[in-house]
Symmetry: C2
Subunit: 233 residues, 2 copies
DNA sequence: TGACATTAGTGACGTTTGGTGACTAATTCG
DNA sequence: CGAATTAGTCACCAAACGTCACTAATGTCA
């Protein structure tokens, strides 16, 4: 299903001339992110697991191909998807292609990997060995998610449709890798007009029940600020 | 020189199976940025001008190829270079390849286009017709430069080694497309420890002479800020 | 030569933004 | 009931930022 190559028996370091699209699907998994990996079809493959990848079909857009692969890998479409670039140095790739185009996708928490053991979620900190080029793609995916965190609804796409503000803050803390102050977080969120409260409350065991919110961004003028020099040197 | 294809007389919509690297070289030109374009070698080409592009050579890294193309197009190496992604939808490209990898490069002001008329600088606002895929690459290059403006030394790479603070501010204003307040700009710059003064002053016709500065970033701790919700909805 | 225009550079004030600790509120558990 | 736990808010203070106004140093021109 995944192998669309014409039968080429060569195992030598001859690269196929095409290129692949490689997908990094991320979902929250406890205190960290997890990546979806496919078990290698070829038992002789040097790595047992790999990112989902495929060759681009004729007359298919890159973005469309990535979405199609997301559906193929999960049964549903990722809640967010973005290209992270082209990867081609000498590093090895399972498809033996010259070049691979990487995509990051987000999957809301709680979506299980397809049954059958062909795919599984692996925590970021405990990945099995991957082909070097795919390893680079995973690392870039991680960076990209952090970079986009404040410009795209990353955290919201990893949460269910309704969530508590504590859950939202925990998601930001997971993605940023550091703690945030409750009052500051909520004040900033208030000013951004990104969420609206629902009528529901959720009692999570002990403690005061929390109100549920949903992601409902409202138009606001982009603040005409001065320059930020974030460059560190 | 640029055409490395095996002689394929086909003019039909048959795509070559390879991919190209396309370079958007930018330099300040008056009140806006300018792009370096090559005159099409083939007089029957549908567009008279194109971005510099080439096919990746065997065992060559994408980054290396982009740098090589920058040197070939200008005689010198770009002062900054970054990949901006892979482009492949149905849109036409002069090389008739399935996929193109775009790069942005910066060139300090004052570097002339090579003599001979094979290349020329075109102001952003007044570009000639380009193949649709290259047009998309140019647009993405522009966005990327603005996105990176506060994280990479974009403005400094477009200026000569020493410059006045007014020139630096003008460069930021050019890139951002809006005016900045002088005192705020300088205060923020001061806090960022990015420049150091030289002993030289420059008298530019009328008005008080300005001190020259050079880009000399000093290490500083990354500020542990809270979250920014720049997302506009 | 002196008034004026022009550009560079800085000081100071008030407002907004953001970090922080401490408070109140509502629930479970014993 | 009281302690523990989690949610939600308030108020204080410091840092950051927009703005105006001022001083400084040059050229231009009457």
């Amino acid at each position: 299903m995944r192998d669309r190559s014409t039968s080429s028996p060569a195992k030598a370091p001859i690269r196929r001339s095409g290129f692949s699209v490689d997908l990094v699907l991320l979902t929250p998994h406890g205190k960290q992110l997890a990546v979806l990996l496919n078990r290698s079809a070829d038992p002789r493959a040097r790595e047992k697991w790999s990112l989902p990848y495929d060759l681009l079909r004729p007359d298919e857009t890159l973005d469309v191909a990535a979405d199609r692969m997301g559906r193929a890998a999960l049964g549903g479409t990722p809640s967010w998807l973005e290209q992270i670039g082209a990867f081609s140095d000498g590093r090895r790739h399972p498809a033996d292609v010259d070049l691979s185009v990487g995509y990051v996708g987000l999957v809301p928490m709680g979506v299980p990997a397809p049954v059958g053991g062909v795919a599984a979620w692996f925590p970021m900190a405990d990945l099995p060995a991957l082909a070097p080029r795919q390893r680079a793609i995973v690392d870039t995916a991680n960076e990209r998610v952090r970079e986009r965190l404040d410009q795209a609804p990353i955290a919201f796409r990893l949460l269910p449709p309704t969530f508590t503000l504590s859950e939202l803050q925990s998601m930001y803390e997971l993605l940023l890798g550091r703690r945030l102050h409750k009052a500051s977080f909520r004040r900033a969120l208030q000013g951004a007009w990104l969420v609206e409260p629902t009528e529901e409350w959720r009692s999570e065991g002990r403690g005061r029940p929390a109100q549920l919110f949903r992601y409902a961004p409202r138009r606001r003028r982009s603040s005409r600020r001065g320059v930020r020099f974030e460059l560190l040197g």
